[in-house]
């Protein structure tokens, strides 16, 4: 998947915009590595990036040499280094790893008279693909169980991670105790599940209770309040948390370890806390060619916006090789898979009329989703006739609402299911595509945390869920979830290479490094119907590029509507 080289024992991942070490990062968003140079092993020739390579060696904090050059010609810079030097390597890989630069390689041929022969490109074949979403499939569906089991099993499963993490952080001698063993004033570490008491949290019981006679509260974008309190629970007891802990940021259901001491007043004074951290990661196998996976979410069909339909069609046309010049089509042929991350239908298709109105009044009316599903079928047909497609359901799609959302029923897509390339998958979806582990949701987990936490950025929340090693900590509390009781499938068993969530307000991507050499690309896949933007992930370099579409309208005379304004 990714070219790897080693500089002084430090791994170097080419083409990622993150800083592995050192104090310097290139403006173009390349990779930087830093390490003590004992041996330099730079397989330049195998790197086919067209971008600029920069080598900076530092000695004792000062700059001792800069080499730069095009890596395309092989090793064209020889860093003058000596053992003991720190070598920083910057690869401005923002160019070749990206879709558009590859697309621009060929000569433009279409502004010319008709030619006799036109190139046709073959879609990159599927090398390896494994769908690992089995934990999210529901076999028997029993809804008679209590949700207590899921919290219990979550704590049991997560405790070993947290204990080891706590020992790493606060020393192996740290006292790990259960709540029932706490002695007042004794400094120790406690592992437990958070509960956040929130006065603003909507409660159906409160709404229906006649004593209060409250009006139903208007929906808010966030339910946090200064009076929120954190309570830590373990198997037997609960205790209120105080001290240096960010109440507004944390959410119910998070399993964490806190360090501190119980006070005489029955409260726990927190000095520090830690999460389970990133799960261990299997290395990705390197790819020798660029391949892309297109992530799209929130097509929002049936929403009534005609303008977004052109965008959707342009998206389909780019992927299926209709649009663009030969270069673009050649690049598009390297899109090895399309993942549709939920909300294929618009919220508007979920009309509640059929529930509120008398049956005889709605007898003749057709559900709004019928037309939208037909349209979706046609879009899926076009896509699956040209590329493997994975379709995840989302919040507004016609499947179950509770969280491991089961695949959409194939009956709904009589046209598209004719192709074996169409795959209907679960909502948290996990698969290994050409050696790269993907995990993602349609965004309910992140948007739910957004509502109950002070974190504003969806990408930040996504990263936070990776840190707490749980896809959806708020799940049984404020987000619908199947009552699991043996295992909690939302705990990360292993760290993915690409972790995404759909239906975010804007695009965002980031590469994070874990303490155990994990590298994860986080992608916030924007809602397509509002942003007209999708994301292309390069499997080789884990570079992520947004791809956006636009038509033109009457109003955008000054190109403002194209997103091209200053």
């Amino acid at each position: 998947m990714v070219e790897r080289s080693v500089i002084g024992g430090m791994p170097l991942w080419a083409g990622q915009g993150a800083r592995i070490g050192g104090r310097w990062r290139p403006a173009g968003g390349g990779a930087v590595a830093c390490g003590e140079v004992s041996r330099v092993l730079l397989p330049w020739t195998s790197w086919r990036w067209g971008g600029l390579a920069l080598l900076v060696s530092t000695r004792g904090g000062g700059l001792s040499g800069i080499s730069r050059g095009k890596s395309e010609q092989g090793l064209c810079c020889t860093p003058k280094t000596a053992p003991g030097d720190h070598l920083l390597l910057g690869l401005d890989t923002s160019s070749r790893a990206m879709f558009s630069e590859q697309a621009a390689q060929r000569a433009h041929t279409l502004l010319s008279p008709p030619s006799a022969s036109n190139a046709t490109f073959a879609r990159v074949p599927v090398v390896t693909y494994t769908n690992s979403s089995q934990p999210f499939r529901l076999g028997e569906r029993s809804f008679s169980r209590q949700y207590a089991h899921i919290y219990a099993t979550r704590l049991i499963q997560m405790r070993p991670f947290l204990v080891s993490r706590a020992q790493q952080r606060w020393g192996s001698g740290v006292l790990v105790k259960k709540l029932c063993e706490l002695q007042p004033g004794e400094k120790c570490c406690v592992v437990g599940t958070l509960f956040k008491a929130m006065p603003l949290q909507p409660s159906i019981l409160r709404e229906v209770s006649e004593e209060h006679n409250l009006l139903p509260q208007p929906p808010r974008s966030k339910y946090i309040h200064p009076d929120d309190e954190l309570i830590l629970e373990d198997e037997l007891q609960r205790i209120k948390l105080e001290g240096t802990i960010d109440v507004s940021k944390l959410v119910t259901g998070t399993v964490l370890a806190v360090l501190g001491s119980a006070g005489d007043d029955g409260k726990f004074l927190v000095e520090d806390h830690c999460f389970a951290g990133l799960a261990p990661q299997k290395p990705a196998c390197p790819l020798d060619t660029d391949r892309f996976v297109l992530l799209v979410s929130g097509l929002g069909l049936g929403g009534g916006g005609g303008e977004s339909l052109l965008g959707t069609q342009l998206l389909v046309d780019v992927v299926t090789g209709q649009l663009g010049d030969e270069g673009e089509q050649c690049s598009a042929a390297h899109v090895s898979r399309v993942i549709l991350a939920g909300n294929l239908l618009s919220h508007n298709t979920q009309s509640r009329d059929s529930i509120n109105k008398a049956k005889y009044l709605t007898k003749k009316t057709q559900a709004a989703s019928v037309e939208a599903v037909k349209m979706l079928d046609e879009i899926l047909l076009q896509l699956s006739a040209s590329v493997p497609v994975d379709v995840m359901p989302g919040e507004f799609d016609p499947t179950n609402y509770t969280l491991p959302q089961q695949p959409l029923h194939p009956c709904m897509f009589p046209l598209a299911t004719a192709y074996s390339t169409l795959q209907l998958v679960t909502n948290p979806y996990q698969a290994t595509i050409d050696g790269v582990r993907f995990l993602g949701t349609s965004g309910q987990n992140v948007s739910d945390i957004f509502r109950y936490s002070s974190m504003e950025d969806h990408l930040e929340i996504l990263e936070w869920t990776l840190q707490v090693r749980h896809i959806s900590p708020t799940a049984p509390d404020t987000l619908g979830c199947y009552p699991f009781y043996k295992t909690d499938p939302f705990i990360f068993p292993e760290c993915p290479h690409v972790y995404f969530c759909g239906n975010t307000p804007s695009f965002g991507s980031k590469i994070i490094q874990g303490p155990e050499d994990q590298t994860v690309l986080l992608v916030a896949v924007p809602d397509f119907s509002t942003t007209q933007t999708a994301c292309l992930v390069n499997l080789r370099s884990l570079a992520c590029q947004p791809i956006s579409f636009s038509g033109f309208g009457a109003e955008d005379e000054d190109l403002g509507g194209l997103g091209l304004g200053p």
Partner: protein
């Protein structure tokens, strides 16, 4: 939307297309296609809404998308040179990378010609520029472009990537058996599916369990048609299931019409047995027609149904496919279908009018008579609706005769049941008498299905998949569908 009416043809003075392209698709086709026949005021658009997108051109002429783009470019260039195309408005597709908020974004935009340079200058790297569409009128927004593409795409859905520049080897249609069984992906049931498919094909004919007999009689007519269809492409199987599904829906929504239809079809075979194939087609068309009349919202799906017919036609007569004029096309189809069809259609309507009282009386007076009456009308047992048939077929054990017998039995039972039930609940019913009756009746039947065993598998199986089919569609439709027979009779009983 007839793009080439305004002189896109090859014989247009100077403004034609590359001769190689002409020869490739055959000049005959060019000439015969009304699209390409040069018109009087050449170079002028007949009306202002006309536009040609590259995709439209590619599908219409059957050329590679890139060639279509080049054709459009070439056309514009020549027109501009002639100065006669001064009022042509061109939109371009531009793509490339754009630095936005610090990260480079691949931008794909459709722009008007006057904005082309401005957009290009904003792009850090320009990946592609090509003509997207040509139109006579200045486009205020890009919405119409989508509509043009959408219509042509809809009629070419089954080979939508035929002319594209990317071919995917992995994208092969599933085996017909696999695709027809709707359960497919994970819980597909292999032994059932081939039979399912067979039944699907049969139902498309519009007549049910008897078909095995008929097909053996007329192997050339019906089965031949389907065999050739199946051979032509597996997609057809898919289409057929579609048709079938629609018919089911149709039957359910039309309700009172269905029994009449069954009879008409049997009449077809009585009277116009000479041309089975045609009748088949016609009946299909009728179904379509009915559906159109009854359920306007469904009409959007129609092109899918109509497309194959149209395609066949276009290949034979080199007629262009124009999906946006569905009305026109239908009229044309009606004209093409011979008078016989119309006659039979009239007959059918009459028949229905006559028939309803008939069934009414039969139920009023002698209950055992009602199945007899049906059989008398059509020696080959016609089930009233096509919906239960696929199910009957899925079960190999009971022979068709038994199945039809079961059907009759069920009918009788139903009547009896409804009587008892109206006694119980009659007062609850206020407005739609027959609807609630049918509802209770179906419930009754379900109960019977689970509890009583003496009317065993044929019925149970029949019932269940029906429910399943209804599931994704509509609850209300399901209600009406449950048994339209009783519904109608109930209506007339009130009178």
């Amino acid at each position: 939307m007839r793009a080439c009416d305004w002189g896109f043809g090859p014989s247009e003075g100077g403004g034609g297309l590359d001769p190689s392209a002409c020869s490739r698709m055959g000049l005959v086709q060019w000439r015969r296609s009304p699209l390409l026949v040069p018109q009087a005021g050449r170079g002028l658009l007949p009306h202002r809404q006309i536009q040609v997108t590259y995709k439209w051109l590619s599908y219409t002429l059957g050329v590679h998308v890139n060639q279509a783009k080049q054709m459009l470019y070439d056309y514009v260039e020549r027109k501009r040179k002639e100065n006669s195309g001064a009022q042509l408005h061109v939109t371009y597709l531009v793509s490339g990378s754009l630095i936005q908020n610090g990260h480079s974004c691949h931008k794909v935009a459709v722009v008007r010609e006057d904005k082309l340079e401005a957009v290009k200058s904003k792009l850090a790297v320009t990946a592609s520029v090509h003509v997207y569409s040509i139109q006579k009128a200045m486009l205020k927004d890009s919405g119409p472009l989508f509509n043009t593409d959408y219509d042509i795409l809809k009629s070419n859905l089954q080979n939508c990537s035929k002319f594209s520049a990317i071919q995917c080897a992995a994208a092969v249609p599933r085996a017909p058996a696999e695709s027809s069984s709707s359960e497919k992906l994970e819980q597909s049931d292999p032994p059932v599916s081939p039979e399912m498919q067979a039944s699907d094909e049969l139902t498309t004919n519009g007549h049910g369990p008897p078909v095995p007999k008929q097909s053996s009689q007329q192997p050339k007519g019906i089965m031949g048609m389907f065999a050739s269809k199946a051979a032509s492409k597996a997609q057809d199987a898919n289409k057929e299931t579609k048709t079938e599904a629609k018919e089911v829906m149709n039957a359910s929504s039309v309700g009172p019409k269905a029994p009449g239809k069954g009879n008409v079809i049997s009449n077809f075979f009585g009277k116009a047995a000479m041309n089975k194939l045609k009748v088949n087609l016609d009946s299909e068309q009728e179904v379509k027609e009915e559906k159109k009349v009854e359920q306007p919202p469904l009409s959007v799906t129609e092109p899918k149904l109509a497309a194959p017919v149209d395609l066949k036609k276009s290949s034979k007569k080199a007629e262009p496919v124009r999906m946006q004029q569905k009305e026109k096309k239908r009229r044309k189809q009606m004209e093409l279908s011979d008078d016989e069809t119309k006659e039979t259609e009239n007959m059918k309507k009459k028949r229905r009018r006559i028939k309803l009282p008939e069934s009414d009386s039969s139920e009023d007076e002698v209950i055992p008579d009602s199945p007899g009456a049906y059989e008398a009308e059509s020696p080959s047992p016609p089930p009233p609706s096509p919906s239960p048939e696929p199910v009957l077929k899925t079960e190999p054990e009971p022979p068709p005769v038994k199945g039809s017998d079961g059907e009759n039995k069920r009918k009788r039972k139903r009547v009896l049941k409804s009587k008892t039930f109206t006694d119980e609940e009659g007062c609850m019913v206020t407005e739609k008498v027959y609807e609630s009756e049918s509802c209770t009746d179906s419930e009754e039947e379900l109960k019977m299905k689970t509890s009583s065993v003496h009317r065993p598998p044929a019925m149970a199986v029949k019932k269940e998949p029906k429910e399943e089919r209804k599931g994704p569609k509509k609850g209300t439709a399901a209600m009406g569908k449950a048994n339209r027979q009783v519904a109608i009779t109930g209506f007339f009983q009130r009178k």
